[in-house]
Amino acid sequence: MNKFICWAKLPLLCLVLALPASWAQTLPVEQAVLTSPPLVPPPVTRDHPARVIVKMEAVEQVMEMTDGVEYMYWTFGGSVPGQFIRVRENDVVEFHFSNHPSSRMPHNIDLHAVTGPGGGATSSFTAPGHTSIFQFQVLNPGLYIYHCATAPVGMHIANGMYGLILVEPEEGLPEVDREYYVVQGDFYTQGEFGELGLQPFDMEKAINEDADYVVFNGSVGSMVGDNALAANVGETVRLYVGNGGPNLVSSFHVIGEIFDKVYIEGGTSINENVQTTLVPAGGSAIVEFKMDVPGTFIMVDHSIFRAFNKGALGMIKADGPEQPVIYSGKQADTVYLPEGSAIQEIIVEAESVVANNLEEQVQFGQRVYEVNCAACHQADGQGLRGAFPPLAGSDYLNADHDRAIKVILKGLSGPITVNGQEYNGVMPAMRLSDNDIANVLTYLLNSWSNDGGAVSPEQVAALREGH
């Protein structure tokens, strides 16, 4: 009977019949606070269950995947991942699921926190311009993915329809100083990574699991530069990490941090002192770490080409005083003489080939670039938005050759503006010979729409001596 009425598209009636004046009706009612990434709603402070009303809307809209690249995302609440839901063990959730009238597709929601067939999917199946209401009780504490499960499921997920619901245990989670919401997802576009314009979903690449983009929170650079996650030295940070997939499993890692605690797969087991934690597609993990030292900490999928070539990279910036006992920075740079070696001095210059003309400089410089620079600045010199500035058509590079030499010699940190975009990262000093630096800069100046010119080894030597 209930089933028939549900099909008759009268979800309210269906709901009422299913719940004759039950325990759930006696619970205090509250409206859920929903947040868009990277923010997390405040902790649940109740010591009793409640009837929590969640109102969420499916919206199909074009947003930016990276600079100049647009994508028609399908979303829960207008962001990827969708809004974060936070409830308490044994709460009863009354879910109002709306599908925006402008949508082309019907949508639904399968919450992994639901005990019941389909996880809510059949009850929430909603045509554009309609609202479905259904109810469930969250019996198991943990951090759960939710996602759209309308056919074709893979495509709905690939377009960004996933998010996290946290079911806090009755006793709550230990208090921390900062909480953030980070979800990885893989995207499949007709154009290759970085190809400009509105990029449609590519079904064949999705089936072949050949991702063009692997990103945190829906786009390249969602948490870099000004959008980096903030913390202070001495604070404990908790990340609610999810993986929407649709295909790839994440090796979640924060460069320069060790997770003090990991709630494995978002469940109850806690592992300690973890470097990298696996986050399955359609799964989660809660990680916690104390910020012991200041600096920028990079979140990556340690399947590392995804981080440096497909976008799976975010930043946490910790402010505060240096802690030299924990991390000293570079203290010395001395010549290394292996035992038994008769060589008394390293003649660096002898090791690199000397170029005789501009053409050779460019040719040799390209080799230096590919080995030392391309991993970050990319093979085509385009850099990565928000993280690594472009060297192609770069106003910063062309404006001042001496400055460019110094950047390679001594490294660079702090804010700079390149082609109108601010970057605030760290480039380490490169251990390169005068020849190699001269060649690589000459290569750069004569590549990718830069202004041309040449840098000589003597110029480099003068600046190396100068300081």
């Binding site: 389909g118 999917a121 059949t122 045509a127 056919a151 074709p152 449609p200």
Partner: protein, 263 residues
């Protein structure tokens, strides 16, 4: 008075200019057979008898002619059980004639915001029917050059690109896209279209059978058994139809009519 005159001429054109002579606007589709999405490989093919199908979706102009002759289907007359509150929501009150009409600029756009009841009635009045899912899908498998266009590389992707489109393709005149092999326009990439049996994928009257259909509609696992697992575009059409109820009116859902047995 001048305005009234203008409206009358407008109405005359609408009444006799297009809608009723639609057989000329139909294409004959010969009998054939095909294997629908949800039948597994090796299952029997479904036979489709010869029929005729409108070359283009029903336009606002066509639908205005219908409403003028059948005012019970006017926006402010239709009973709520036959159409929800979005019915003809894009039509405005014409102050001169005191009647609801589409703007002239959209007359040759496909009519949208019509319920199944309304679309069904429209076709019946013209001695036609809404096409069945089988008829619609059979014709929609053709490309411009082949009745088996779905086998051509890139065919699915072209349809899928509609979903990534951020314009409003339903706000365009019908019949401008290239006709397919059968001479039918706009099956893909313009509007969703009602079929007479749109909800048959869910309603079988046997709950265990229904749950297995559910599995196919809601779970990726279902696609393993379908004829062509990569036919995402067809999955989307079946899913879309399953989400509908007969009184729904939606801004990207229109229709066209068919006549059984050819012409």
């Amino acid at each position: 008075m001048f305005h009234r005159c203008g409206t009358a001429v407008f109405a005359f054109t609408v009444l006799f200019g297009s809608g009723n002579t639609s057989f000329a606007r139909m294409a004959e589709i010969p009998a054939g057979e095909f294997r629908p999405l949800y039948l597994v490989e090796g299952s029997p093919l479904v036979a489709v008898e010869a029929f005729s199908l409108d070359r283009v979706p029903v336009t606002n102009q066509d639908y205005l002619a219908f409403v003028l002759q059948h005012p019970e289907w006017q926006k402010d007359q239709v009973p709520a059980v036959f159409a929800d509150s979005r019915y003809l929501q894009h039509w405005n009150k014409n102050a001169a004639s005191d009647s609801w009409e589409p703007e002239r600029a959209v007359l040759d756009f496909p009519v949208v915001n019509v319920s199944w009841f309304a679309a069904n009635r429209y076709c019946r009045v013209l001695n036609k029917k809404l096409p069945s899912i089988a008829q619609w899908e059979y014709v929609a498998r053709a490309s411009e050059i082949s009745p088996e266009g779905w086998r051509e590389p890139g065919y699915q992707q072209r349809i899928l690109n509609w979903y990534a489109h951020h314009g409003r393709p339903e706000k365009n005149p019908v019949g401008r896209s290239p006709a397919n092999y059968w001479g039918i326009h706009d099956l893909h990439g313009m509007v969703w279209e009602w079929t007479v049996d749109f909800n048959s994928a869910l309603v079988s009257g046997e709950s265990r059978a229904d749950s297995s259909i559910d599995k196919k509609l809601y779970c990726a696992a279902g696609s393993v058994n379908s004829v062509d697992p990569s036919d995402y575009a067809a999955f989307m059409r079946y899913a879309f139809r399953s989400s509908l109820s007969a009184r729904y009116a939606m801004s990207n859902l229109g229709f066209r009519c068919a006549v059984s047995g050819g012409n």
